[in-house]
């Protein structure tokens, strides 16, 4: 199985796309598979690996890197359109 996503930390709720992924492509990473991305994901961008309700912390590297501004669905692209910095608010 050729991986197309990198799982950085077991606590993370996002993984990183290792190449550009087309909508509907199955996510394949260490210990994760069986779901597809809901939209096109650019290389090195984040994909939610479970539903992240609004206001919940986005975990990457095992740490909080942002907070979701709305419900982010499993397989969805996670970026500035659906999260905010805890530090420098938009």
């Amino acid at each position: 199985m050729k991986k197309n996503a990198l799982v950085i930390h077991p606590r993370d709720n996002v993984v990183v796309a290792l190449r550009n992924l087309a909508a509907g492509e199955e996510v394949k990473g260490k210990g994760i598979e069986g779901f597809a991305v809901l939209q096109e994901i650019p290389a090195s961008h984040k994909i939610a690996i479970r539903d992240i309700p609004a206001g919940e912390e986005v975990i990457k590297y095992g740490e909080t890197v942002a907070v979701s501004t709305r419900l982010i669905k499993k397989g969805e692209w996670v970026h500035t359109h659906n999260l905010e910095s805890k530090r420098w608010k938009k």
Binding site: A17, S44, K46, Y61, T64, V65, A66
Partner: protein, 385 residues
């Protein structure tokens, strides 16, 4: 079992190289250093832009600390210093900082006999020293006498995902072996105070981390004004980084996940073991000087956009974050962490990097060493006057 070797120094430190260092005390004599470098290419010759024209106490402290630390560095077996005579870091002023180095040191001032005579004397001294230290033999190097620096520069979107993750895995392995790991770049810690303080050994270390990052953030705002938020740039965002905390997490990951035992000032020698933070700048060259001055014998340097930069007398192992730049700069980059994208595991890559590190410690040259890509710059606070 992985055995490492080095040169035991009189002060109990171990070098992994045994270089003769020929260094200017001020930029005015760089031409002399260049002449010696042509005559004695085996010596590590360091011209630079410093030594005078900056006056504050802090500026002087940094200048003397960095120059003196190059002399004291365990990878250096003997030293020729070329001075001018009237500079701030003149040989008389510098002497008290270097005379306890317990290694052969000779100092020549250009104002005593002119540049050509000084170059001749300096070259003769360097040759004599090379012969003098050539008989020193490598001995087993205890892992707890090893300090490894972790640096990143010319980063791209994959740096925090591939290369720095691999560096972090090596950092954790090293700390497990009893070695020490140091990294700096305080501007790239902004947004990670909560992570780093949680890992601090004590309240005191945590307090120092908060101070360091607050100052870095304030300084960034003072210098950049309303552009401060561009510390995370549109390029970073295009690359998938959404917040400053996320960008910084990718940076600090290179130090691994162990307890932070000490925060040292720029170029200061750690007194603790394990993972050490340095209150130093983000700019690669200046950062490397601080990490080397703190006594690190070897460095890992992750890069995504690609840089050839090495450091005088300190082997620098370059790690590419992506296969494209590794292919393009194969003459400059030692390890390709881009393989993580192609299905290799972090554990496999970590083993490869440890093997490479062991070989480099034991004498194998890095690409930057082979190519002579030494860069020597240091942190300054004000422009010269």
């Amino acid at each position: 079992m992985k055995e490492i070797t080095g040169y035991e120094r009189k002060n109990g430190k171990y070098g992994i190289r045994n270089h003769v260092l020929v260094m200017a005390t001020v930029s005015c004599v760089n031409g002399v250093i260049n002449r010696i470098s042509r005559e004695v290419p085996e010596a590590v010759c360091v011209p630079h832009s410093y030594g005078c024209g900056r006056g504050s106490a802090r500026e002087t402290q940094i200048l003397f600390r960095i120059l003196a630390s190059m002399v004291h560095h365990p990878n250096v077996g003997a030293v020729v210093l070329i001075g001018l005579g009237c500079e701030r870091s003149n040989s008389k002023a510098l002497k008290p900082f270097v005379e306890k180095a317990e290694k052969p040191i000779e100092i020549f001032d250009v104002q005593e006999c002119g540049s050509l005579q000084t170059a001749r004397k300096g070259a003769e001294a360097a040759r004599r020293m090379l012969a003098g230290i050539s008989g020193q033999r490598r001995v087993p190097l205890p892992w707890d006498k090893l300090l490894v620096a972790m640096e990143c520069g010319g980063s791209d979107a994959m740096s925090g995902v591939t290369a720095n993750v691999a560096l972090g895995a090596v950092s954790d392995w090293l700390v497990g072996k009893g070695s020490s790991v140091i990294f700096g770049e305080n501007t790239e810690m902004i947004g990670t105070t909560h992570v780093l303080t949680r890992r601090a050994k004590s309240e005191e270390v945590a307090k120092r981390i908060v101070e360091m990052i607050d100052q870095a953030e304030q300084r960034t705002k003072d210098i950049m004004g309303h552009l401060a938020s561009w510390v995370i740039s549109p390029g970073n965002m295009d690359g998938g980084m959404s917040t400053i905390a996320e960008k910084s997490m990718g940076c600090i990951h290179k130090g691994g996940t162990t307890t932070i035992n000490q925060v040292v000032d720029y170029g200061e020698w750690p007194t603790e073991k394990g993972l050490i933070l340095q209150d130093g700048p983000g700019y690669d060259g200046d950062s490397m000087a601080g990490l080397a001055a703190s006594g690190s014998q070897i460095m890992f340097f992750s890069t995504g956009r690609g840089t050839p930069a090495g450091f005088p007398a300190v082997p620098v192992i370059k790690v590419a974050s992506n296969s494209r730049i590794y292919q393009a700069m194969m003459d400059d980059i030692d390890v390709n962490a881009g393989v993580l994208v192609e299905g290799r595991s972090v554990e496999e890559l970590r083993e490869e990097m440890i093997d490479r590190m062991v070989r480099v410690i034991n004498g194998e040259e890095t690409k930057a060493e082979i190519n002579g890509m030494d860069v020597f710059t240091m942190m300054t606070l004000n422009p010269p006057f």
